[in-house]
Symmetry: C2
Subunit: 202 residues, 2 copies
DNA sequence: GCCAAGTTACACAGGTCTGTGTAACTAAAA
DNA sequence: TTTTAGTTACACAGACCTGTGTAACTTGGC
């Protein structure tokens, strides 16, 4: 949290470019030469800021691990809003699934640190759901949170292969049904919610 | 469908080995040298049977595209049994997610043919759910089938990163809730179903 | 002006990968 | 036996990869 509006450092530019290329094209598909060439710097400069490609990969994943912004909306709106945010992200042409799941799929069980951060991310999202469900006083917040997270990850995987934002709406419909089934009063079955979830769901 | 009990051909052995290694380690991570060395044949022989690695990748994915076996169980048992089968597969140490999703994640939107077969596979599984839901006479079989498929893919993605077969049980619980919510009578909320689903779910 | 930090160009080592070319070998069919 | 199809060993081309070494250059602060 340095001062805001600070000039973007070289390291930032490298990380930002690596992030975009790793995410869009795949980690193994992108070489350090490609990244440095894209920025217009020498490969040497890149290695002056990151000791290895592995370190850059780790920084990439840490960079993707962002927390949802706090919201003053009701828990139900926050939960359902997650799926509206997903639908918007699915519509963007630069969406290509969850970077953590993709990294695990690509780098395999070999790389333990990649798996660790992926697990941490998924669990943090599950806990986010759980906290909202606790607020709602549902009987089994842990279990229901897991189920909601399944819908999130399922719609991401489906959209990855189908390029179909409607997967997010299907997930939202299912989430609504599960919430109602748990005794939560859900107001509008239509899609009129405004300004939902917000934070990156990966 | 040649005569059964036929001797395994060289091509079969290559494909089988490529399947195992591609799936477990990743497509980009495995070179043709690794595959031929694993079988104990020369690289030349491999290229005598497959014109390129891309052709071998395509054969791998086609090989993974298997249809569920017909079943005489009730539609509800078949649907819920899918998740029992998933749980069993999650428990196996050689399970590493859905080969189609993984291939799309790894090879990116670049390779159009990979995406095509992945879409075809996912849609075939959705239709399998839909057909059972039509038998059950639910109001919106298309939509509910999509939702069930989201649970399948979500639990697969979650298990890929967490190595936790309980994800399949969570998906089953959610599926049961969605079915009941659609007016389907579901008998045993406990886990006593026997010999479910069976076919490979990717 | 001068220094120090950062950057650049460039070559290179050592490894991997896909795919080909070739000549010798093996084994089964004719 | 002879033919033929498949296989093998092996070298190699050409490309790409990660990472390093080095000497020259630019630039902001003093």
């Amino acid at each position: 949290m340095a001062s805001p509006h600070q000039k973007q450092t070289m390291k930032d530019r490298i990380l930002q470019t690596a992030d975009r290329l790793f995410y869009l094209k795949g980690i193994r598909a992108i070489g350090v030469d490609t990244i440095s060439a894209e920025i217009g710097i020498s490969k040497r400069t890149l290695y002056n800021h990151f000791p290895s490609k592995d370190a850059l990969i780790a920084a990439y994943l840490e960079h993707r691990f962002v927390q949802p912004k706090p919201s003053d909306k009701s828990p139900v709106e926050q939960i359902l809003g997650t799926f509206d945010a997903l639908e918007r992200r699915f519509g963007a042409k630069d969406f290509r699934g969850c970077p953590f799941v993709n990294a695990v799929a690509e780098l395999g069980g070999e790389d333990k640190s990649v798996k660790e951060i992926a697990i941490a991310f998924k669990e943090s999202r599950r806990l986010w759901f759980r906290d909202r469900l606790v607020e709602l006083g549902v009987a089994d917040p842990e279990g229901l949170a897991t189920q909601l997270q399944l819908l999130v990850d399922g719609s991401i995987a489906q959209d990855l292969v189908r390029d179909d934002p409607a997967m997010a709406r299907a997930a939202k419909d299912a989430a609504r049904a599960l919430l109602e089934n748990a005794g939560v009063k859900v107001s509008s079955p239509d899609g009129a919610e405004r300004n939902p979830g917000s934070a990156r769901e990966g």
